[in-house]
């Protein structure tokens, strides 16, 4: 076991707290307690997850795992064995939380108000659930506390008395937030009640937490406050600067609420610092930020979870205590890193099944975390709920539905059933979003396909399904979904042009995407993402200055847009502005560390700047996130061979490439006589290496050469020679594609030509010119070929290692430059356009169909 680095750890969760609000308050000396922690500790941004929904996020913070692993996926859930809904409960969590792991290692925890934590778990220590502070009656005398709110139960009566009821609050409690409260007509304006309720709940949680810290032994105390989030949702629109559409009167009344609640949290923090003591490690964090400037949404759509659109991607994080660096910044932290870091503070190993990493950079000395496979495999008294209490609510709801359908149980009324179905759909939707966030589109696809099939009129589901299909490169289905979306209510689809543009860019058709992005800008020019996508289109077109301008526009709107920093870094790299490129790429990874693309280009920038050690760091990060990234491994081989002499490392990466990463093979395919030889000639002229043995000589049917490889003919019986084709181009007719081995990646250029022309050309080649002249058309043969082509297309779609671009023969003849541009993007290669155009001999376009 590692050395314990923290005597005690105090975690304060300030839901939605944002540096953009805190920084001006710090500068004005209005948050002195937080300032004291920052000065003697480490602070930074913390990246949230998607979807940005608090019960999911706070469970990810407490487990180090994403929602698909911990099982908390919504605000509400069906009650097992009943067709009713309830707030999401702790019994739905399907893995251990931090407090369970500490329990089984004889460490005591006080957990107060965590979301979700009802019913409380029998841990080593105490637990007060997130129902504790909820006001359930108008009068204090009637305010009962339900069972399961406090563990151990012996503390229930004591702690219940510390709850604060809103009716107890006086003017002094409200006026700091609304100095002109006396001007409010409370019959029409409920804002005073809202503030009163939130302050009361906040005070209840704080009272329970401070009482436990003073009266119960503890190693970890973790307290969750939702007040900043709730009051931000209610009052951020009144926060300065005054938003358009907000009256002067309302602005004047409520402009101090947001600052007020932050200052109150700082006042509470003073108490926590005193109670925790000098030798405690204190962590303060939020699960996401909250837009407070020009990025505040002007209005919210009428859809579930719409308030989440007010959340900002980056929350705040601060840690201070023994063995922690002083007055430093941390970069690249995410919510998933908190549990691994706290486990390391306690000298405990981190589960390899956790999705987060230990924030080793916060420690003042190098720390080597320990790992085990999973804490789920370790027996012990973890204080989890007993097995019979733990239930998957969705599975239970399904089971319930079955009993109803079978007639064993009376069906609830239609409204109730519809509501429950909506919740189940939304929970599944959240799960799909988590998979997409984790770049597991293949796992998201079946969920979204089902949702789309079940509720095709819900635009959000359809849009997400289209996004998923685009990531999976299932473009045909994606286009059909987008066509369906176009038939839905236009009010819900402000971004359809944008989505279509994104699809075209991913299909390597950036020039066609640009007009759609331009149209989308009529409504969403204020959103940074549209400018990022325009920039990405220009990157594909290698128009570096235009790309730089687009990304700059995105950064003007949002200086913390990681995608824009990455994009502008790439553009600057290509313009040989290496230092500026590195600067932007560093900004990108400091915002979002899990960004292998940015790390890759950062590595390239460092390499070219001859900063070889840093280049190694960057490429190693790439290979951690993308073990199969051949180019990153290749760079590491070069670095360890030529610049930082380390033959062992060099060999390690070179062996890895040899044993694990098969290269990409470019295939030119299609029916015989569809233009495959012409395409091979073009690619050879363009600078690509062709795999050919030149055994088949030129002839009158192909005067410029076939460029074939004889071994292809026996592909069906022997495909072991394919390694010869790595990073080269091979011609393989359509009917033989299915015999290509699956352990390579293939880029297929599939030639298309009118069947009539193909058949005629084949007939002539076979010496059947007379039949052609007599217009004898072998219909049966044509039909067979058509069916084979359809089958080949379907086969390609079903095999993800095949990436395909369909190239009409006539387009090559009539519009070669555009075809070559598309090929260049598809192959990610710098092709010699002029040479390729010159390789085309339109006089060889014989056997034209009459209409051509």
């Amino acid at each position: 076991m590692n050395k314990r680095l923290a005597k005690k750890v105090l975690v304060l969760g300030w839901d939605a707290a944002d540096w953009k609000i805190i920084n001006p308050l710090l500068d004005a000396g209005l948050m002195p307690s937080l300032e004291s922690l920052i000065n003697k500790g480490v602070m930074g941004d913390i990246a949230t997850l998607d979807p940005v929904l608090s019960p999911i996020l706070w469970t990810s913070i407490a487990t180090g795992k994403t929602g698909d692993k911990h099982g908390i996926l919504n605000f509400v859930e069906p009650i097992p064995d009943q067709m009713e809904l309830r707030p999401v409960t702790s019994t739905s969590r399907k893995c251990k939380a931090l407090w369970n792991i500490l329990s089984q290692n004889n460490l005591k925890s006080n957990i107060v108000g965590w979301w979700p934590s009802n019913p409380v778990e029998p841990i080593n220590g105490t637990m007060v659930s997130n129902f504790f502070q909820k006001v359930s009656s108008e009068q204090m005398a009637d305010w009962k506390m339900q069972e399961g709110t406090v563990y151990p139960d012996s503390l229930s009566k004591t702690l219940a008395e510390y709850r604060v009821h809103p009716t107890e609050l006086q003017a002094e409690h409200i006026l700091p937030f609304i100095p002109k409260a006396h001007l409010i007509d409370q019959t029409n304006d409920k804002n005073l009640s809202i503030i009163g309720k939130n302050i009361a709940e906040c005070a209840s949680i704080h009272a329970a937490a401070t009482w436990l810290m003073e009266n119960e032994p503890w190693d970890l105390t973790a307290v969750y406050f939702d007040t900043i989030d709730h009051l931000s949702h209610g009052f951020m629109r009144f926060h300065p600067p005054q938003m358009a559409g907000i009256s002067d009167e309302k602005f004047d009344l409520f402009k101090d609420v947001v600052n007020g609640i932050y200052r109150f949290h700082d006042m509470m923090l003073e108490r926590y610092i005193k109670l925790a003591g000098e030798d405690a490690t204190i962590i303060i964090l939020s699960d996401h930020g909250f837009h407070s400037d020009h990025l505040r949404p002007k209005r919210l759509p009428t859809e579930p979870m719409a308030p989440a659109l007010e959340h900002r991607q980056f929350g705040m994080f601060c840690i201070s205590g023994p063995n922690i660096q002083k007055d430093e910044r941390v970069y690249g932290a995410t919510l998933l890193d908190i549990t691994p870091t706290i486990l390391t503070l306690f000298g405990l190993p981190v589960g390899k099944d956790m999705d987060g990493k230990v924030l080793t950079q916060v420690f003042d000395k190098p720390v080597t975390p320990e790992y085990i496979d999973s804490w789920e495999n370790i027996e012990g008294n973890s204080g989890n709920h007993p097995a019979e209490l733990q239930q998957d609510p969705l599975a239970a709801a399904e089971a319930m539905k079955q009993l109803i359908d079978l007639g064993y149980i009376e069906a609830p009324d239609e409204d109730k059933t519809k509501t429950i179905e909506k919740v189940i759909n939304e929970t599944q939707f959240n799960l799909a979003r988590i998979y997409l966030f984790k770049e597991q589109a293949d796992l998201a696809e079946p969920i979204l396909e089902t949702l789309y099939g079940r509720t095709p009129s819900i635009a959000r589901y359809a849009l997400k399904y289209a996004e998923c299909l685009q990531k999976l490169r299932k473009f045909d289905i994606c286009v059909s979904v987008i066509n369906h979306i176009k038939t839905l209510d236009k009010k819900e689809l402000p971004h359809l042009d944008y989505l279509e543009g994104v699809l075209l860019v991913s299909q390597n058709k950036p020039r066609k995407a640009l007009p759609l992005f331009k149209k989308a800008m009529e409504t969403i020019a204020h959103m940074p993402d549209i400018h990022v996508k325009v920039g990405e289109a220009f990157i594909k077109l290698k128009e570096w200055d235009e790309a730089k301008n687009a990304f700059s526009k995105a950064l003007e709107i949002d200086p913390e847009n990681a995608g824009a920093h990455t994009g502008i870094g790439i553009a600057l790299l290509r313009k040989d502005e290496l230092e500026d490129a590195a600067d932007h790429l560093l900004s990108s990874v400091s915002l979002i560390f899990n960004n292998p693309l940015a790390h890759y280009f950062l590595g390239e920038a460092f390499y070219r700047l001859e900063m070889y050690e840093r280049a190694v760091e960057a490429f190693k990060v790439v290979t951690t996130y993308q073990p199969g990234n051949r180019k990153a491994h290749a760079y590491l081989v070069k670095l360890f061979t030529n610049h930082i002499s380390n033959p062992i490392e060099a060999k390690k990466h070179s062996d890895f490439i040899m044993n694990n990463i098969k290269g990409t093979i470019t295939i030119v395919s299609g029916m015989p006589r569809s233009g495959t030889s012409m395409m091979m000639q073009m690619l050879a002229a363009g600078g690509l290496e062709i795999l050919t043995d030149n055994i088949r000589a030129n002839d009158e049917n192909n005067p410029k050469g076939y460029l074939e490889y004889q071994k292809v003919k026996s592909l069906a019986s022997d495909n072991t020679w394919l390694h010869e084709g790595q990073n080269k181009v091979i011609k393989v007719i359509a009917q033989l594609l299915q015999h290509l081995p699956s352990n390579y990646q293939y880029k297929v250029i599939f030639m298309e030509r009118e069947m009539e022309e193909i058949i005629q050309s084949q007939q002539i080649m076979l010496g059947k010119k007379a039949e052609v002249e007599k217009k004898i058309y072998p219909t049966a043969l044509a039909d067979t070929f058509k069916k084979q082509l359809e089958k080949t297309r379907s086969w390609i779609k079903a095999h993800p290692q095949f990436e395909v671009i369909y190239v009409p023969y006539t387009d090559v003849i009539t519009n070669p430059t555009e075809v070559i541009e598309n090929l260049s993007l598809f192959l990610d290669a710098d092709l010699n356009t002029e040479a390729m155009v010159n390789a085309i001999d339109s006089k060889l376009y014989r056997n034209r169909k009459k209409s051509n």
């Binding site: 002195p32 307690s33 510390y162 604060v164 107890e168 006086q170 003017a171 002094e172 409690h173 006026l175 700091p176 100095p179 409260a181 006396h182 302050i199 005070a203 704080h206 009272a207 329970a208 937490a209 401070t210 009482w211 003073e214 007020g260 200052r263 109150f264 700082d266 006042m267 509470m268 003073e270 108490r271």
Partner: protein
């Protein structure tokens, strides 16, 4: 709202402080947590008793 109540609210001092020795009835006591709530409720009770006694004398 009657004029008397309004004047009380206008005249109330708005206190936002981090000191533990803040006057009773302000946010400061809530910010102290459990000990502050105990003290605040005790003070309110004392004030209520005092008011009751004053009204009796009148």
């Amino acid at each position: 709202m009657d004029e008397k109540k309004k004047s009380i609210l206008i005249n109330k001092k708005i206190i936002f402080s981090n000191s533990e020795t803040i006057a009773n009835g302000s946010l400061g006591l809530l910010a102290l947590g459990a000990v502050g709530i105990k003290a605040w409720r005790k003070k309110r009770l004392e004030e209520a008793m005092k008011l009751k006694n004053n009204q009796k004398d009148e």
